[in-house]
Symmetry: C2
Subunit: 452 residues, 2 copies
């Protein structure tokens, strides 16, 4: 988990009262720490000054320190690793989950690895090394290898014994079955194990029809399988069929949250996620590139207006007043369509066999919305200016512009998916700029053809 999440208000209030009233008194602190969840502590510690961060962190027991170190933002994590007592840090790392340790090491300065891993036992260190082979964002980079494994030639009684011997595993409710060479065979639920007689062979109890994924698959694809099948964990299996680890439901929750936020940020054109604690200039330069399509598109609209202002002469003043509504409505309808399409593709609501049908349906919706908006705008153009020709031009242009925007907004994410580009990138500023421009060209061309 890269980012801590919010504490309930009462935990916050209690810690603030504590910090104000008691100072850093170890005895009182211990009492307060018992009632505050480590996830809250992680949130609170992010807001402290460097010195206070270190002080508070060094007061924590190793278990709580491990959770805090796993959950604070990367910036605070780096500060703690660099400035807090080395013994305290390596003690906390010794209690962390292998996947969190791998994340920490990937961000740590080179050469720190040995110090950080000094309290980590050999099995844990081996798991960390295995996880670090896979790129962040892949299933392999997210999986845990801390699971209960049994061989398919065992009995139910043996499997119950294996659980007893692996109580530190991340999940006990699913037991993962391999052949004697380590090739994945199926999943044995604790439920069926408890129902079975002890001599029953594991091979007859397990479910062999289980979805799996490859370690180099994108983590979103793995998360989607878990969400779809309502399973607690997804086995990660390499090309030779060897069981490497599993992706558990808590990682799936993180991935799904991250993915939904990424899509939203791409569609709204905000660039990557930045923290409020990042310097202003960094945040400016993350966002500026996303403004470029908008600025270029609308500058071209301005150039078009300039181009048409000569031929339209005295009527340009009145005609130009309807450019904002053409741009804004076309852009808005296009954004509606592209957003629905991007999410439909991401959640699978628009899956195989439904793409073309959705495209035609969205075009019909756009055509109808265009007709309604065209009637409304055309009518007000006519009433406001007592100009029937202008009203008709506005009506037809709006109708055509909105229909085109709806079709383009639906089509672009489909094309992006086909050619392997992330459809969310196309859905926001790019499609809006394109639709602004198209709507203006259509309107000014029709106006020039009829009015001059």
């Amino acid at each position: 988990m890269a980012e801590s999440t919010p504490p309930p208000d009462d935990a916050m209030r209690r810690l603030q009262e504590f910090l104000e009233g008691h100072g850093y008194d170890l005895a009182t602190m211990k009492n307060v720490l018992e009632v505050i969840h480590p996830a809250d502590l992680a949130y609170l510690i992010e807001d402290l000054g460097l010195e206070e961060k270190i002080k508070l962190f060094e007061m924590l027991g190793p278990e709580i320190a491990a959770t805090v170190l796993s959950e604070v933002d990367p910036r605070t994590q780096a500060e703690l690793v660099e400035h807090a007592d080395r013994g305290k840090v390596s003690e906390a790392v010794g209690k962390m989950e292998p996947d969190d340790t791998a994340d920490l090491l990937e961000r740590a300065a080179p050469g720190q690895e040995a110090t950080l891993l000094q309290n980590v036992d050999a099995r844990h260190a081996e798991q960390v090394r295995q996880l670090m082979q896979f790129a962040p964002g892949t299933a392999g980079g997210r999986m845990t290898s801390n699971i209960v494994r049994v061989r398919d030639d065992m009995t139910a009684g043996d499997a119950l014994g294996a659980i007893q011997g692996s109580v530190e595993a991340e999940m006990l409710e699913s037991i993962f079955v391999t052949d004697p060479d380590g090739r994945f065979r199926g999943v044995l639920s604790l439920r069926s194990l408890l129902r079975a007689a002890k001599p029953t062979p594991v091979a007859t109890l397990m479910d062999p029809h289980v979805s799996t994924c490859r370690p180099d698959e994108r983590q979103e694809a793995a998360a989607r399988i878990v969400a779809r099948e309502d399973i607690a964990a997804l086995p990660v299996v390499d090309e030779a069929g060897m069981l490497l680890g599993v992706i558990t439901h808590d990682d799936v929750i993180d991935v799904i949250q991250e993915e939904a936020i990424e899509d939203l940020f791409k569609i709204a054109g905000t660039g990557g996620e930045v923290s409020a604690r990042d310097p202003v200039l960094k945040r400016v330069f993350v966002r500026l590139p996303w403004l470029l399509p908008t600025m270029c598109g609308s500058m071209l609209v301005g150039w078009l207006m300039n181009h048409f202002s000569g031929p339209l002469g005295a009527r340009f003043a009145v005609v130009s007043c309807f450019i904002p509504i053409m741009m804004a409505t076309g852009g808005n309808v296009g954004l509606q369509c592209s957003t629905l399409m991007v999410r439909g593709l991401a959640t699978g609501e628009v899956g195989p066999g439904r793409v073309m049908r959705t495209l035609f349906a969205e075009s019909r919706v756009g055509f109808t919305i265009g007709a309604i908006c065209g009637l409304l705008t055309g009518l007000s153009a006519h009433l406001f200016n007592s100009d029937l020709a202008l009203g008709a031009i506005v009506m037809v242009s709006m109708w055509v512009g909105v229909s085109v925007a709806a079709t383009a907004g639906t089509l672009l994410p489909i094309i992006c998916t086909r050619v392997g580009v992330d459809p969310a990138i196309s859905a926001g500023p790019f499609i809006t700029a394109l639709n602004d421009l198209t709507a203006t060209v259509i309107y000014l061309s029709i106006a020039q053809a009829i009015l001059t």
Copy 2:
């Protein structure tokens, strides 16, 4: 789960091949059904015609039929309940999870309840009735009461026996501890149970410091606690402290997905979620209201242009060409800021104690972006028209407009949260329309003041 999610392409291909090659031959069907996940079947069945839907559904065994009936979209669910063989439907309902049964009954026609529940045993029916007391969207409406419960005066040995006796529970890894009256006391993990000696009292093994939620709390709030604390289930406890049920991780995944999509749809202004199978007019009228703020805002921009075209006279043609870039850039920066703020508030990254700091930081970012965009646009206005005054007007207007848009975009979601309105609703079309208008007023006012 309200909506089925996508099947992997190979499952899809296999079923399509089957449907084309074999027709509805029961023997072959059985073989195919064994390799296709029921979640895929739910997706596939949604796309069939009514008659085929019924035929396919009636071929399924009760277990698979139960999953399919739980996972198809509400429209297909209603069709199956109404038209498929009553015995088959009630058999499937008998195998469904209580929370899915409650969802089904809430959507079913009045009077159907008795028929639908005829194969449901008394305990399941009681759980369904309890769940239906709570509104959809609340923690109570999402929880399951199908859990392992033990009393705090039991021993570890008793608790292991209780698990053996409740193997049908939705989760076995967490055991929920109450006092003899049913008041919630804590959670006992299977891990600590397996580590303990059999005579150890449950009260000393359980974790009493566990987050809980009330049944009438919003499901998003409950999901956020589970995501934050990386727990497998959250106990739902009433005012008297009685344990009613728990929210499990698979429901949390659904809630988080739904919430992220809702926020996205509000920000992109698409209205509620609609299915591609809904009639065109329904989808048009879901989306039209979200276009109104945009259309009203941009019509007012047009009215303003008309208002200023007189005083600006011959210079209006040139001045008006920069209105699109003012509107588009202001609108885009405002959308960036409001999106970041809405998600920050939703995930808790902008939690207690960070709101004002984020507002000031975002305003500084907006001020800097405004300065850069102002310089670029002002320079091109000057170069393109050889008009230093126009260049200066464009530069200053862009700077002020973008700064105001950034501040307004950040502030509006904060105000909405304070007064209890969903901030996501304010973040999309409303703030964009407001910023379009503000940017135009600023620009045209400055232009008029200097050029006339």
